[in-house]
């Protein structure tokens, strides 16, 4: 995979769409900078007919386009093994066997990919194939070339892995869902998604999850980042709530940036 990307590097689109729970955000990039950013409320790619997809589609330029889906349609698993086999085929069989043990649905209906995090951990990620087909069709109808379909959580993980001192976890908050990714020295160890309720409920859920990780993974998460896709609620209130739990927020580096958009600074 790495060799393929090294020899055949993929081009990142200049037009990027972040697909949130109940909104979409359009980004135009130039020289690795976001030059234009526009939010479309009520647009959901999963239900294009119900939302305002047509309004947004008009705004799209006939350029190479990419979509960054939020964590909601994905299923994440971090598998831990004593030792990972070097052979790719063996590793695939091992991950498939592990996934079948915990995943009740038909795996064939999902696009499943996994990534070696270190010598012991694997990150498995699933998404329904029908959703991908639906998105592809949507763009094909509009004659807009779709060359990138990514995932915001993985983009943030990649971004934080470059930090000298990455936070112990990050919170990715969208309109209706929230994703918590706990890591140890930049390597994800636990990922949890949950539906968003009130701000206090979310803070309590985060606190509970921190305690869970503390007691099950032998680490003490203290620092975190918030990546907030919500328009109405500010992350500062959430940070204030979590500060009472001795959790310190270090989101300043992400201010006015979009770490989930690949190719942007």
């Amino acid at each position: 995979m790495d060799l393929k990307n090294l020899l055949l590097p993929e081009r990142l689109p200049r037009q990027m769409i972040y697909a949130g729970d109940r909104h979409c955000e359009l980004f135009m990039l130039a020289n690795k900078r976001i030059v234009q950013r526009k939010r479309f409320a009520g647009v959901t790619l999963a239900e294009p007919d119900a939302g305002r997809w047509a309004d947004m589609a008009v705004q799209l330029q006939p350029l190479d386009t990419g979509i960054i889906l939020n964590s909601e349609p994905f299923i994440y698993n971090v598998f831990e093994f004593d030792r990972l086999p070097l052979s790719g085929k063996l590793l695939q069989e091992l991950v498939a066997w592990k996934l079948q043990k915990i995943f009740p649905e038909n795996i064939e209906a999902y696009d499943h990919q996994f990534f070696r995090l270190n010598k012991q951990r694997i990150l498995s990620i699933l998404i329904k194939k029908t959703l991908l087909e639906q998105i592809e069709t949507l763009f094909r109808e509009k004659h807009i070339p779709l060359i990138y379909v990514g995932n915001s959580t993985l983009e943030i993980i990649n971004r934080l892995a470059k930090w000298k001192r990455p936070p112990d976890f990050f919170v990715e908050m969208d309109d209706a869902s929230c994703c918590l990714v706990f890591s140890n020295k930049g390597i994800p160890i636990y990922i949890r998604k949950f539906k968003i309720g009130s701000r206090l409920d979310v803070a309590a859920e985060i606190s509970k999850t921190v305690q869970f990780v503390k007691s099950n993974y032998g680490c003490d998460p203290r620092n975190y980042c918030i990546i907030n896709h919500q328009e109405e609620n500010s992350a500062d209130d959430m940070a204030a709530d979590l500060a009472r739990e001795n959790l310190s927020c270090q989101s300043a580096a992400f201010e006015r940036t979009a770490p989930y958009i690949p190719g942007s600074q």
Binding site: L7, L8, P9, P145, I147, G150, L154, N158, A161
Partner: protein, 180 residues
């Protein structure tokens, strides 16, 4: 942690610039590598050529030396042919003179008493040759004493005469080669 590449799009596009850059770097690395290899090979070939030249030079020297040796051997053989008769002659002389005259004369001086005189001495230049002497003695017992001394040496008394003044005897005896 290695970067996670995750793209689910059915149609993807290759970044031509990055691809060209990667290919250029790879090509450059290959050219560099090949250049280094060629340089190394050239250097090795040069070294090998130098060594071959040295070997050829040494072989030439060796051949020259062999030719000189052959020449000397020829000269030696010519000289040998020239000197062989002389050498054979000289060797035969040496072979013939393989005994000591002095030893024999010393022997005679020992066995003869002080009053006896040797009038004649014949010595053959040949190791097993006999020695002939004519001796004069004042008394006969002196002669007898001499006979006694010469008996172990295969003594042959040729003649014995008595005159008014002395006794004369002609004797021959054989001394083994003292070198043996």
């Amino acid at each position: 942690m290695r970067k996670i590449y995750y793209n689910l799009a059915g149609t993807r596009k290759i970044d031509a610039r990055a691809f060209a850059l990667t290919v250029s770097v790879i090509l450059l690395a290959m050219v560099l590598f090949n250049g280094i290899t060629i340089l190394n090979l050239a250097s090795q070939q040069r070294q090998s050529r130098n060594e071959k030249n040295e070997i050829r030079f040494s072989a030439q020297k060796l051949e020259e030396l062999e030719q000189k040796t052959l020449q000397y051997q020829k000269e030696i053989s010519v000289l040998k042919k020239k000197w062989n008769p002389k050498l054979t002659f000289a060797n035969s002389l040496i072979e013939r003179k393989c005994f000591s005259f002095i030893f024999r004369l010393n022997f005679l001086e020992k066995v003869l008493s002080g009053s006896m005189r040797i009038r004649q001495l014949n010595m053959v230049n040949h190791p097993p040759g006999r020695i002939q002497i004519d001796v004069h003695a004042l008394a006969q017992n002196e002669l007898l004493e001499l006979y006694k001394k010469l008996l172990p040496y295969d003594l042959v008394i040729g003649s014995e005469n008595q005159t008014t003044e002395n006794y004369r005897a002609s004797l021959s005896f054989k001394i083994n080669d003292e070198k043996k």
